[in-house]
Assembly symmetry: C2
Homo-oligomer: 267 residues x 2
């Protein structure tokens, strides 16, 4: 059986990355774990996020992977380098791809960054952007209400619209031309975010961009699947399979998708 791409997140947010990998690389098999029971990661101390991330990484590593994606910005900010050093397969985070795409899009060097409290505190996007181009002006904004909203399955209603508008208000006057969704949960709110920010702001989803880089790096390593058989993906959650399953089926447009519950840490 072909090796899989492991994707992990604090909850359902990483499905936005998984969806783009499925779309851009339909021959690749995905094993997904969402740590729904302990979501959100954003407000937790970084040491705790690091521990939880390692638990997911070890769980996935035993699934015969060719690549591991940390599809959670909060986890990428604190644990990417450590896990890259420890594993013998490529380990990809979502921050650098988002930063690179934002650099490609911006014309006026004014870039907004939406993220969790943990991601904003880490300044990981600022570092990544300034490493590439020191003149970029960054406008980070923590959006602590977004992840619970998405995890509850309420990402499209009038409540969501109100929360998005209230949260993003401070960015309206900043003359941004590019806005990074620095959390993989946020693409579920992307229509509302785009509507509020207006057409002059390009919204960058780390999911799309990470999938592009997964494709580039697997190709560079000559490690893409050649077959045209429909792969059997696997989904695991540490929480209730009901809400996870409902959002996953809707988001991935796949009614037959199976979700299994696991416990972390493994005893």
């Amino acid at each position: 059986m072909d090796k899989a791409i492991g994707v992990m997140d604090s909850g359902i947010g990483g499905l936005t990355v998984a969806k783009e990998i499925m779309r851009q690389l339909p021959n690749e098999r995905i094993v997904y774990v969402g740590d729904t029971a302990r979501c959100p990661y954003g407000p937790r101390p970084s040491q705790e996020v690091k521990e939880f991330t390692w638990e997911m990484a070890k769980f996935l590593y035993h699934h015969d992977l060719k690549m591991l994606i940390i599809a959670c910005n909060t986890a990428t900010a604190v644990a990417l380098e450590e896990i890259q050093e420890a594993f013998d397969i490529p380990v990809i985070g979502v921050i650098a791809p988002g930063a690179r795409a934002a650099i490609k899009h911006t014309k006026n060097d004014h870039i907004g960054i939406l993220g969790t409290i943990g991601t904003v505190r880490s300044k990981a996007y600022e570092h990544s952007l300034h490493d590439l181009r020191p003149t970029i002006e960054t406008y980070p904004l923590a959006c602590p209400k977004f992840v619970p909203l998405v995890e509850s399955g309420e990402h499209a209603g009038s409540m969501a619209k109100k929360i998005v508008a209230e949260t993003l208000q401070p960015l309206k006057s900043k003359h941004l031309d590019t806005l990074i969704l620095g959390c993989t949960h946020y693409p579920l709110l992307q229509p509302l975010i785009e509507q509020f920010m207006g057409p002059s702001v390009s919204v960058i989803s780390s999911g799309d961009e990470t999938a592009r880089e997964v494709s580039a790096i697997l190709a560079y390593r000559n490690d893409l699947n050649g077959h045209n058989v429909e792969p059997r993906h696997h989904f695991y959650t540490t929480g209730s399979t009901t809400i996870f399953g409902r959002v996953a089926k809707e988001w991935l447009k796949n009614d037959k998708l199976r979700v299994e519950m696991i416990r972390l840490p493994r005893g």
Copy 2:
């Protein structure tokens, strides 16, 4: 001194790739060679294109490179794999990045491909697109008048507008939502191409996309330059330095740029 990124093309087309690398990775130094004296490569037999490409590759390889970009679609189609196998540094072509970006953009799976006679004959884009997604409908079109037009420096006038319109007419009725500029000379004609095709068609420039992947792969290999000093780029052409210098200065918005003439093959 930091290692450089080598960029080579049949002429000035690869400057569209070099420009994007300079914009997205302003700390990186570029050594460029354009084989202007033997341009265009498009109509030549593939064995000859392969020989010429090897001559440029060997010339650049002695400039202490960390990566080599074949910034010419015709050359990529015939020589990429051979050169990748022979060299101990990453060698990147422009076809796969363009194909991957087109797959990311298309919603209706109808993708047009503009290229030279050699690139269209090679079916390299079709192979690359179909490897990723077999259901893509491709509409290739050879545009043999475009490269001489660009190399002559006449890429913005009324003559250019007329040639673009006449050449692209057959694609108007194909319901494309994505069009790949499958030749690195064509981005100089991009404003005219976009104007003719209309806003419903996303035009993909292999230059932008290749630069994104260069950035991703150098980062993955931990090989990006950290300094913030302005790098000294080098430009070589096998032809007259006058037209090359004029277009390069205009396109790269750099008046101080120096262009040196070389002979290929090296005796």
